[in-house]
Every structure is written in C-alpha cells, then in structure tokens.
C-alpha cells in the first residue's frame, strides 16, 4: 500500500494497468488495494490543479480565514469544524495549533462575497468567537506545483 500511495501522490490519474506496470505488480492487486484504501478512507480521490489566476474574470477569489472558537464540553472543536465543513465553498477546514483554532480555506466569486459570507454566516455559527480573513492576491504554488514553470526544457534535445 505504501508504494501505491507514493505512486498516486506523484502521478495521479494513471490507469490501473499503468500503475501495475510502474509498480511491477498485477492490475488486480492494485484494484484490490485501492478498493481497500477507499473503504478505509485512506484514498479520497484526485483533484486537478488549476491556476485560477489565469482563468480570469475575477471569479476565483480565495481566502484563508483564521477562526477562534469556544470549544464545547465533551465535543471540543469537532462540532463547529463539522458544521463549517458542510459549507460547499469551504475547500479546506483544519484544526490548528497556535494563535487560533480553526483554519478555513474558502473560495468565492469576489472579495465582497467572501467577506459578507464570513460576516453573516461564518461568524454566526455557534461557538465562533472571532474571525480574521486573509485574501489570496497571487498564486505562486498550489499543491506542490509552481505556477510559473518554464515552458522550454533547458536541457536541449540531445546529450550523451
């Protein structure tokens, strides 16, 4: 399973056959392991990396929101975090160490849309003490991919 995870991590989107070839095992074995990983919620799917900055029309604003929360007796932060995770535009929701409790990554159509959402909806969730919103101004690297990668291979075409 460890090898499959490494391969998935480096090369998402391969066919079972390609994965089998690249790991030197049978496609059936890969399929079985992936199945198990899905059942155990280890493998949660794959997502495209899109440079939204280039998609344009200001439709892809992104913000990080630091949320301070009053933990609930017996439930800690889970209840609030689960509620927030239900919001479709919340892309990531993490419990954090340090100066605040929950970190949220949100997408929206405009700064204003996100700001209003935070003010009206997020802050109103029971247990939320405060929020601090940071808007993303430019994407340099997303999910391990540097957005501005050189197009041309500077190694040339042939060397011995």
């Amino acid at each position: 399973m460890e090898k499959i995870i490494k391969l998935l991590d480096a090369h998402p989107g391969l066919s079972l056959e390609d994965m089998a070839t690249m790991l030197g095992v049978s496609a059936e074995e890969i399929a079985k392991t992936l199945d198990r990983m899905r059942k155990e919620k280890i493998y949660m799917g794959e997502k495209a990396i899109i440079n939204w900055d280039l998609v344009g029309e200001g439709n892809h604003v992104c913000a990080f929101i630091d949320v301070q929360v009053q933990p609930k007796l017996g439930k800690g932060f889970d209840e609030v975090a689960n509620t927030m995770s239900q919001i479709p535009d919340v892309e990531c929701c993490y419990l954090m160490s340090g100066g605040y409790d929950i970190s949220i990554k949100m997408k929206g159509k405009s700064f204003q849309e996100i700001a209003l959402f935070v003010a009206r909806k997020l802050s109103a969730i029971e247990g939320v003490i405060s929020t601090t919103t940071h808007f993303v101004l430019k994407r340099y690297k997303d999910d391990g991919v540097i957005m501005d990668t050189p197009e041309k291979d500077d190694r040339g075409n042939i060397s011995l």
Binding site: A10, D18, M22, L23, G156, I158, L160
Partner: protein
C-alpha cells in the same frame, strides 16, 4: 595561409569527429521536438543544496580550495562511500575532487597511459574513454558486450582481450547507454582474471546510486585484493541532479591519486569552490533526495520498458542508470536511419546506439529523465512511426 593541420596535435587531429554530430545539430535546431535524448536528470538540484551553496557565496567563500578539494568535502566523500559502497579511502591521500566524473576519467587515463598501451573499453559505452586514450597515444581495445549476455562483460571475453600491452580496463557500470549493471558474482569473476595481472581498473560508477529492482551497486574496489589496482570515479551529477555544478571525485591508491592530483593541479588548480560547498550539503543531507528521485526513475523505467515491448520494439530490461536501450532491428532500418527519420517525421529525438560504439548498431538509447506524460506522448509518436514504416513495406 597557416597550415593548421600540421600545427595541431596529431593524435587529437586524427580522432574522428563523432559521426552523429550532424544528427545532433539537426535535433538541436528543431524546436518543437519531443525529446527522449538527454543524459541528465529532469530534477533540479534539491533546494537545500542550492541554498547552502548560496550561503557560502554570501559570506565570501570565493577563493580556490586545496588542489585536491576541500578537506571537509573529502572527509564527507570518504564517509559516504564507506556507508554506501563499503569503500575505504583515506580522505587526505586517496580522494581527489574533480570537475565532474569527466575530469577524473581524463586524469586517470592521462596518468597511466604511455604510447602504445592498450586500454580495454567495453562497448556500447559512454563516449569519452576512447578519444582520451587515443590523445595519449594509447590504443583503445573495444570489448563488445551483447544483449544475450545482458550487456555485461564476461571474464572469458576479458581474458581474450588481454595482451602483454594491456594497461587498464575501463569498467562502465551501471552502464550508459544500456542500463546494464554488474552484480557481485560477475564482478568476482572479472576480479579473478585481474588479480593475476598488473592491469589497472578504472571503474566509472557515476550511476552507482541508480540501481533498481532491489539490487544495490557493488563496486569492484570493494572486493578482496582489488583496491590496489582500482580507481573509482563517481560524482554528483546524477546522484544529486547536479550536472551543471561540474563536480565529481576519484578514489584510488595513493601513488595514482598523487599523480592525478599533480596533473589536476597544473590543469585545473581546484574544482569550483561553490560547488564543493554544495556537495558537502548533498552528501550530508541529500540521501533522501536521491532515494526519491530513484523511486521516480524506477516508476518510469518500468513504464517505458513495457511501452517499448508493447509497441513491438524489444527492450532489454535495464537495472541501472536512467536509460533504456530498445532494439530497432525489427524495423530493418539502421540506428542512424531510424533516429533521423523519427526526428524528421515525428519530431521525436532519441540517440542512435552507434553513438556509443559500432556494437550499438540495431539499438537506440532512450532516456527516461522525462515526465510520464512526456514519455507517453513520445511513445505514441514512435508507435505511429512504426505503423507508417509497416505500411511502406
């Protein structure tokens, strides 16, 4: 008019320019080529190595180093080769830091070759050995390796190539271009032949860190009785993706390293200082990077070998380096024809096997230092090319 031909070194002058120069020029001029042609990693040098090197520039480490290289670097080299390859060399007298493995090869050959000496050079192999031997007035003696022997040299063939004039054997494994490796038992057989002789060995182990399928590189110099007759060449280019830093090292008996150092001192002074500092960081903290890159190469290796076999080009299973060496005999074309037509008709660049010696005829060298996506596209085009060839006949 000056007659340059009579002024130039005659040994140099008579070395044939590589026949594939024309092909290279053609490939380099085309700019929408899907290449599988380069012999260097697609990975950049790991960040922490670059960063450590930059730091030394910031504090003004910009001078020459000791001729043999920074003592701290030689100490790290000696630790690294001990841990990884069970090689024991005294960092003060048996380690020389060079400008790439290339300089180490050049130094060794120049340090040992007298006019008329024969140097045995397995084939197909990297291109630099023969010309340097020839410039020194030595005679390169090709030792052809065959696919039916997994491109390994055999003790028997070695014995047959040895004459009273044999000075040294070049041992280029893991091999560029075939991807062949030599395992301990095979090395033992070769060592047994050499132990009875005064023949030196230069073991070019530049790809030592890249062996696959659970096999680890064994250095001939780690075998009983061999250190005294071996010089090991290694470097940072492939192991740490540091090709442009131009740094390597040579390990060997003090009397040989001493002479190589003398030559190095006159010709080079010392290897690039910033690179040497980067190399210290690589050896200290780069093991994980090497392992990661190797794992990625291994994915691609399995993929590309199967892909070639699937499209009908039989491909030897490489166990080292980052090349595969499929046979193109089934097409009826020569290696040069195949490569030139593939380039012109499908804009895919690979290297004809003949670039690595006459015995590379019938093969092409394909590098998998490319993303899987890129490899897929290139293979797709080669498949098309094969289809069109079939329709022609």
């Amino acid at each position: 008019m000056i007659q340059y031909d009579s002024l130039l070194n005659q040994n140099l002058l008579h070395i044939k320019p590589s026949g594939i120069r024309k092909f290279f020029d053609l490939a380099e001029k085309m700019d929408d080529v899907i290449s599988l042609g380069v012999g260097e990693p697609d990975f950049l040098t790991p960040w922490h190595i670059r960063q450590e090197a930059v730091k030394t520039l910031d504090v003004g480490k910009t001078r020459y180093t000791a001729n043999a290289g920074l003592l701290a670097l030689r100490r790290e080299i000696s630790k690294y080769i001990e841990n990884n390859y069970h090689l024991h060399y005294d960092y003060e007298s048996e380690v020389l830091v060079t400008v790439g493995g290339s300089e180490g090869i050049d130094l060794f050959i120049r340090a040992v070759t007298n006019a008329g000496d024969e140097i045995i050079v397995p084939e197909p192999s990297f291109v630099c050995y023969n010309p340097i031997v020839s410039i020194c007035g030595g005679i390169p003696v090709p030792l052809v390796t065959k696919e039916e022997n997994n491109f390994k040299i055999t003790a028997q063939a070695l014995k047959a190539a040895i004459t009273p004039k044999t000075k040294a054997l070049i041992l280029p494994y893991p091999n560029n271009p075939t991807g062949a490796i030599l395992e301990r038992a095979e090395l033992e057989e070769i060592a047994a032949v050499l132990r009875e002789s005064d023949i030196l060995v230069i073991s070019d182990e530049i790809y030592a860190s890249l062996t696959y399928g659970g096999k680890t590189h064994v250095s001939i110099a780690s075998l009983e009785g061999m250190p005294e007759r071996c010089v090991v060449i290694n470097g940072f280019s492939k192991t740490f993706s540091m090709t442009g830093w131009r740094l390597g090292y040579a390990l060997g008996p003090k009397p040989i390293i001493e002479q190589m150092t003398k030559l190095h001192q006159f010709a080079i002074m010392s290897a690039p200082t910033t690179s040497q500092f980067g190399a210290i960081e690589a050896l200290k903290n780069g093991q994980e990077d090497t392992e990661k890159m190797k794992a990625e190469y291994d994915f691609r290796r399995r993929y590309i070998v199967k892909a070639f076999n699937d499209i009908g080009l039989h491909c030897f299973n490489p166990e080292g380096a980052f090349y595969c060496f499929p046979s193109i005999r089934s097409t009826g074309l020569s290696s040069d024809e195949f490569c030139e037509r593939l380039l012109k008709e499908k804009k895919v660049a690979v290297v004809p096997g003949t670039a690595f010696g006459a015995s590379g005829e019938g093969y092409i060298r394909v590098s998998y230092c490319y993303s899987v996506e890129h490899i897929k596209t290139a293979i797709g085009r080669i498949k098309e090319f094969l289809g069109e060839l079939k329709n022609e006949s």
